[in-house]
């Protein structure tokens, strides 16, 4: 009975707020309309942690939308699952004068399974409503309340998570009981006026009048430079399992003891098998490699996320029987096998994909992926157990260079994963081409990649059949028309840690005949680079996310029937973003050696540096298109 009263009371609260507010779009200040497709008029985001096992999330917002580019903000999606119920949801649409156009009830929403694009099955669901506007501007107000037992996952406060939207006012508050401590990490507060209230059992933030930001190329993620707060609590519940942790050490121990410890058992047959497979070596590195390759040949990645299964690995014995599993299951299976052959390894929680570290200052379940950490002697080895193609100990750009949580029976430790130096991400192109007097080209190319460039080719090219490779390499060499390949071979050379590609082709009309002249674009095999777009009055910093080095050496044989009129000169560019050089070295009258290097250094740069970077890339694109000129 008491519960019902609280609910009605809360509901009543909303109404008062919504009724008091002027929903007309006329009062929006001009500075919030600039570069904005929409304005968040207000956002009230309130979290109440009732106990270790109960959290109420309350969200209300009103967004005014100016044009159809802002319509996505009137598409409402709310997730739920067995542990997370939607108590209340409703929405109202107002026209520009603030008159109600439409009231939307929960029954107007459609219910779907929340397909994540990867999983065979997960038990998350969602409700969705898509509004069709009849005129602009309009304002959508919506509110919902969610009740969940998963107190381990307190939502972040991300101030403004979209471009082209300004914020009039945004409030966030969190209430928690006295027996629980709240951890928080405030990021990027500098330069913003944030009104903060903190007292026992309560914390709130408020910010006002935040202008819209326009998306610009090479911009880092919004939460990397706008105010964001992340939270954790000392006593939490995760899919029905209670937890208790004040720091990463304790959190890691809790995770290991509750979610990993009892999943490692293997069937006797498999134990014997892996022992006999590794019997011939006593070197732990060799043993680990044999185990990793065994796992690659035995299993494949299939994701099934149900309840605690979203956090706890499948039993190693089940993976053994089924031959599949998700990242946790496959990491766990590899760990179980390694344990059997006497090599210690550790489950590691991490963010996979775009470079993103765990937030070190809050001990809470973070990350979206699991890999395996194997320290052997002085080496730190990281294993990506979901890949059937990666060579042993290569993780590539999916999990490189970031902080991750390594779990063990002794507790958790934050470690930084492998950093690939620019020179390691190397692509060397060696080859030769012959041009006849009609401009037709006959070519042989050998490309070798290591580091993250290895990884790119592995994902894109390995295992593809000839028809697919034909399309892939016609795209790669799109600067050459009319290609006919006589050879395309790709080879994942795991032993030598490199990806190898061998091509042979002919193409008519590569050189352009101009009256009596023949123009030959000199850089035939690595010529796809384009300068980034020009941005007038750039406002945001930029990021070069990939560092790499390309080295090309190509022999050129020119048609002896023609005279050589022009050979491009040597070029060297040297900037803080990287270096570039090309040179054509004469071997004899009709034979030359073309040399090119391009090195790009990753990093975060100020907005003022964008134009110099763009000029650097423009120069490169220009010189890559230099032509040798022959004449009859």
């Amino acid at each position: 009975m008491k519960k019902i009263i609280t609910l009605i009371f809360l509901f009543f609260n909303f109404l008062i707020y919504a009724q008091d507010f002027d929903f007309s779009s006329l009062s929006i200040p001009e500075n919030l309309k600039e570069d904005a497709n929409s304005v968040a008029r207000f956002e009230n985001f309130a979290i109440e942690i009732k106990s270790q096992r109960e959290m109420i999330i309350n969200y209300q917002t009103a967004i005014t939308i100016f044009n159809d580019l802002g319509d996505k903000h009137s598409n409402l999606t709310i997730y739920y699952d067995k542990k997370r119920t939607i108590n209340e949801v409703k929405a109202t649409v107002y026209d520009s004068k603030g008159v109600i156009v439409k009231k939307i009830k929960k029954s107007d929403f459609k219910d779907y399974s929340a397909f994540d694009g990867i999983s065979l099955f997960n038990d998350n669901r969602l409700i969705h409503y898509e509004h069709t506007p009849i005129s602009y501007p309009y304002t959508i107000y919506y509110e919902y309340e969610i009740n969940t037992s998963n107190t381990a996952f307190i939502p972040d406060w991300i101030l403004n998570d979209s471009y082209s939207q300004s914020v009039k006012s945004a409030k966030f508050s969190i209430k928690y009981p006295p027996n629980i401590s709240l951890f928080k990490s405030e990021e990027n507060f500098k330069g913003f006026e944030i009104n903060k209230t903190e007292k026992l059992g309560f914390l709130s933030y408020e910010i006002k009048d935040l202008p819209a930001l326009k998306r610009e190329p090479y911009t880092p993620a919004l939460f990397d430079f706008l105010p964001t707060v992340k939270f954790g609590i000392s006593k939490f519940n995760l899919e029905g399992v209670d937890g208790d942790a004040l720091n990463w050490k304790e959190f890691g121990k809790w995770y290991y003891d509750n979610l990993i410890q009892n999943t490692l058992e293997l069937p006797e047959v498999t134990k014997l098998k892996i022992k006999s497979m590794t019997a011939n070596t006593s070197d732990p590195f060799e043993k680990a490699k044999i185990v990793y390759e065994y796992v690659q040949s035995k299993v494949r990645y299939i994701s099934v996320q149900v309840g605690i299964g979203g956090f706890k690995p499948m039993f190693a014995s089940d993976v053994d029987r089924l031959g599949y599993g998700d990242c946790k299951a496959l990491t766990n299976y590899t760990a179980a096998l390694l344990k059997e052959v006497g090599v210690a390894s550790y489950h590691t929680l991490i963010f996979g994909g775009e470079k993103r570290s765990l937030n070190k200052s809050i001990a809470s379940p973070q990350g979206n992926h699991m890999i395996l950490y194997v320290p052997i002697a002085n080496q730190e080895i990281w294993l990506e157990c979901t890949s059937q193609k990666d060579p042993f100990a290569e993780i590539g750009s999916f999990t490189d260079d970031r902080d991750a949580l390594v779990l063990s029976p002794d507790g958790g430790v934050i470690r930084h994963t492998k950093v690939y130096k620019t020179e390691e991400n190397l692509q060397t192109t060696k080859g030769s081409y012959t041009i006849d007097s009609e401009g037709n080209i006959t070519a042989d190319v050998y490309i070798e990649s290591t580091g993250t460039q290895y990884d790119d080719n592995l994902l894109g090219n390995e295992g593809k059949n000839q028809k697919e490779l034909d399309i892939i390499f016609k795209k790669y060499l799109s600067n050459i028309n009319n290609i006919k390949f006589s050879k395309i071979e790709v080879f994942n050379n795991k032993e030598a840690f490199k990806f190898e590609e061998k091509l042979a082709f002919t193409a008519t009309n590569y050189g352009v005949i101009n009256g009596t002249q023949l123009l030959i674009p000199m850089n035939a095999f690595n010529n796809g680079s384009e300068a980034p777009a020009r941005i007038r009055d750039r406002k945001l910093p930029f990021e070069i996310s990939m560092n790499f080095l390309d080295i090309d050496e190509v022999k050129i044989a020119l048609p002896t029937q023609l005279k050589i009129e022009y050979i491009p000169e040597k070029v060297e560019l040297n900037t803080k973003f990287g270096t570039y050089s090309i040179e054509v070295i004469k071997i004899d009258d009709y034979n030359y050696l073309f040399k090119r290097t391009l090195k790009i250094i990753s990093g975060n740069y100020q907005k003022e540096e964008y134009e110099p970077y763009r000029n650097f890339r423009k120069e490169i694109a220009k010189h890559d298109n230099s032509k040798i000129i022959l004449i009859k």
């Binding site: 399974s113 059949n465 009309n509 009256g515 007038r536």
Partner: protein, 673 residues
């Protein structure tokens, strides 16, 4: 004699050894040991065998259910084929009626040390998921997959809604053998429609069938004071009927691989669809669902409420009167009614041939699906005295309907018949104009359904050329940069697409896009004319500079005559093509460039003129260059007169584009005096 006998016995035995056993669980060693698909070594997986049986079963109290039994055997050759180890079985699952999947069995087989190892799928590895209110799916992935393994599954679908699942014969992997048998009692009539290139035909047979009913009758007891007031008697009766059988036996169907410029690959996968069209219940009038085009029309008008929806007019009559009062000609009437509907009802992005809000509610609330919108349009046009009718069609992503079926259609537009002309209208899009439909509508033919029940095909593909005409004037600066003005005019579908993409954006953002498309130029003084005057061509104008389009070598300057507008890459890269080429619309692209020869330079060489054509006047390309006083004038025009080309024309089109690209790459050379 003996020899012959032995030989015969041997051959027979040999035959038996070769013959595959297609029973569930009887996977052969040959199948397990096969390293690659014999007819296509690039296949990652193959369907070794598929058996599909559909029949009707009568259950007293329920009536007929459609029972479909499926058995599939899949071979996985390599890791790239692993995705074929995951299966989704969709089934209808609405609140009141739902299909059931029963008897699901599945297993993985592979050979290890000469022994066949079998791993069976367990129940808990099968997931049941509600996709939406009406459809669910059962999903599973096979255990213990290895390169070279063979998978098998079998299950039954019981359908009270009498759905006969599509018979798909072609996949992205090759198929060795498919057997299918569809048995339908004479009471039910299904329309068969066929799509795809690979020929498949049914052997038709008939058989006698019967149902035994048990009838229960209760009558009041005649004897007074009896304990039981009613007496129940059982009688049995038998009904005989004929069952029609379609038998399909197909072998060696090649894989279908996706290629560029195909509207939807599903249009080309060989598939036979069965659509429920008539019910001939004994002693009852025939109930039609769909059959001939006249039936389709009738069904649409009656069962799909077109008639009711079209007859509602009170909600718009005032607005219509205003519009008509100021329209003098028929074409003015059409345009103004069209604009009224566009203005009044916004499209909620839903397709279909069933109303969403209904014409009246949609008009009042200002929101509707394609049916609500375009039926309002038809209704108003009729009220205004024009001869308007709905045209049903299938959008590009929905495939091409060929046979009279309702299920094949998912969209409705409006058509006005004036004299011998037909004007097509789709009011879902703000920027569409009469006879310029959005690309999604441009899928071959639609079917006009007139109220009098008559119906004919209507060509949806535009016949008018969509134009892009640009002219550019360029001068050279001393520093090796160029400066110029460009004006581009778009008409018809190109204008529609331009408006749809750009006019909502701020100019700065459009500039960014245009710069990105053209590369190498920097734009200023950007202007779009006729943004919202959609009955006029849209015009884009800007000034530009570029420091990256000239090559200065010694005392010479090299550049492409069309600069950044040159077509430098052939869009057709494949050696061979199996599917038609679909341009969407016939078009013309015209570029005029005027270049002022800089002081102190003379023309050393220019590319030669070119005029080439495709056969049957399907297309032409012209490139003309003239030097007049201190100007070089270039005129380049590419015209494609038909939207669709059969794959037989592929080589010709590829060569045609190759010549255009070669010409566009040739350079003008200027030399210092």
């Amino acid at each position: 004699m003996k020899k012959i006998l032995i030989a015969m016995v041997l051959t027979l035995m040999a035959n038996e050894i070769i013959a595959q056993d297609y029973k569930y669980g009887k996977v052969s060693k040959e199948e397990l040991e096969e390293k690659y698909y014999p007819l296509d070594s690039s296949a990652n997986a193959a369907v070794l065998y598929k058996n599909r049986k559909t029949h009707f079963e009568y259950t007293q109290g329920q009536g007929f259910n459609v029972i479909t039994e499926i058995h599939e055997r899949i071979k996985i050759y390599n890791k790239e084929g692993f995705e074929w180890a995951t299966k989704n079985i969709e089934y209808y699952n609405a609140p009141n009626t739902s299909e059931k999947i029963i008897n699901l069995k599945a297993a993985t087989y592979f050979i290890e040390n000469e022994k066949v190892i079998e791993t069976t799928l367990s129940k808990k590895e099968v997931f049941d998921e509600e996709s939406n209110k009406y459809w669910s799916q059962q999903k599973f992935t096979m255990p213990n997959i290895k390169e070279g393994c063979v998978l098998e599954w079998t299950y039954k679908i019981i359908s009270p809604i009498k759905r006969i699942e599509d018979l798909q014969f072609q996949y992205e992997i090759p198929v060795k053998k498919i057997d299918a048998k569809i048995e339908i009692p004479e009471y039910f009539v299904y329309n068969k429609s066929y799509k795809g290139y690979y020929p498949v035909s049914a052997k038709e047979e008939k058989k006698n069938s019967s149902i035994t009913f048990t009838n229960k009758e209760r009558s009041e007891s005649q004897s007074l004071g009896s304990k039981a007031p009613y007496i129940t008697t059982y009688t049995q009766s038998k009904v005989d009927y004929i069952t029609k059988i379609d038998i399909y036996e197909v072998v060696n169907i090649p894989a279908l691989i996706e290629e560029a410029y195909v509207n939807s690959i599903d249009n080309y996968k060989t598939t036979i669809q069965y659509e429920y069209s008539e019910l001939h219940w004994p002693h009852e009038p025939i109930k039609y669902y769909a059959n001939t085009w006249e039936d389709v029309t009738k069904t649409i008008y009656n069962d799909y409420d077109f008639k009711t929806e079209l007859n509602q007019s009170s909600h718009y009559s005032d607005d219509l009167a205003v519009v008509l009062a100021s329209s003098a000609t028929e074409s003015e009437k059409i345009t103004r009614i069209f604009e009224l509907v566009k203005n009044k009802i916004k499209w909620n992005k839903y397709n279909g041939i069933t109303k969403f809000n209904g014409t009246k509610k949609a008009y009042k609330e200002g929101v509707g699906n394609v049916v609500d919108i375009n039926l309002n349009l038809v209704s108003m046009l009729n009220k205004a005295g024009l001869k308007a009718s709905p045209v049903i069609l299938s959008t590009r992503s929905n495939g091409i309907p060929i046979f009279p079926t309702i299920d094949g259609f998912n969209y409705v537009i409006a058509a006005v018949e004036i004299e011998n002309d037909l004007i097509l209208l789709d009011a879902t899009e703000e920027y569409s104009v009469p006879n310029v439909l959005p690309s999604r509508d441009l899928n071959w033919q639609g079917r006009i359904v007139r109220e009098n029940g008559s119906s004919t095909w209507v060509n949806l593909i535009p016949t008018k050329l969509s134009e892009t005409n640009s002219s550019m004037n360029i001068v050279f600066n001393d520093s090796g940069t160029i400066e110029g003005v460009k004006r581009t005019q778009y008409t018809n579908l190109n204008a529609f697409n331009y408006r749809d993409n750009y006019t909502k954006m701020k100019d700065d953002d459009v500039i960014l896009k245009v710069e990105e498309e053209n590369g190498k130029i920097e734009i200023s003084d950007f202007r779009i004319t006729n943004k919202s005057e959609i009955y006029k061509p849209i015009i884009e104008m800007f000034k530009f500079t570029s420091d990256d389009v000239l090559d200065k070598v010694g005392d010479k300057i090299y550049f492409k005559p069309l600069f950044f507008d040159a077509m430098t890459k052939n869009p057709f890269k494949l050696e061979k093509r199996d599917y038609p080429i679909d341009f969407g619309t016939p078009f013309i692209k015209e570029n005029k460039v005027g270049i002022k020869i800089p002081m102190g330079y003379v023309v050393e060489s220019v590319p030669e003129n070119l005029a080439i054509g495709l056969s049957d006047n399907y297309g032409v390309y012209k490139f003309i260059i003239k030097i007049e006083a201190d100007m070089i004038n270039i005129y380049s025009t590419l015209q494609i007169n038909t939207a669709n080309f059969p794959s037989a024309n592929y080589d010709e089109i590829k060569d045609f584009y190759k010549m255009i690209v070669n010409k566009n790459l040739e350079q003008i050379v200027l030399k210092k005096v």
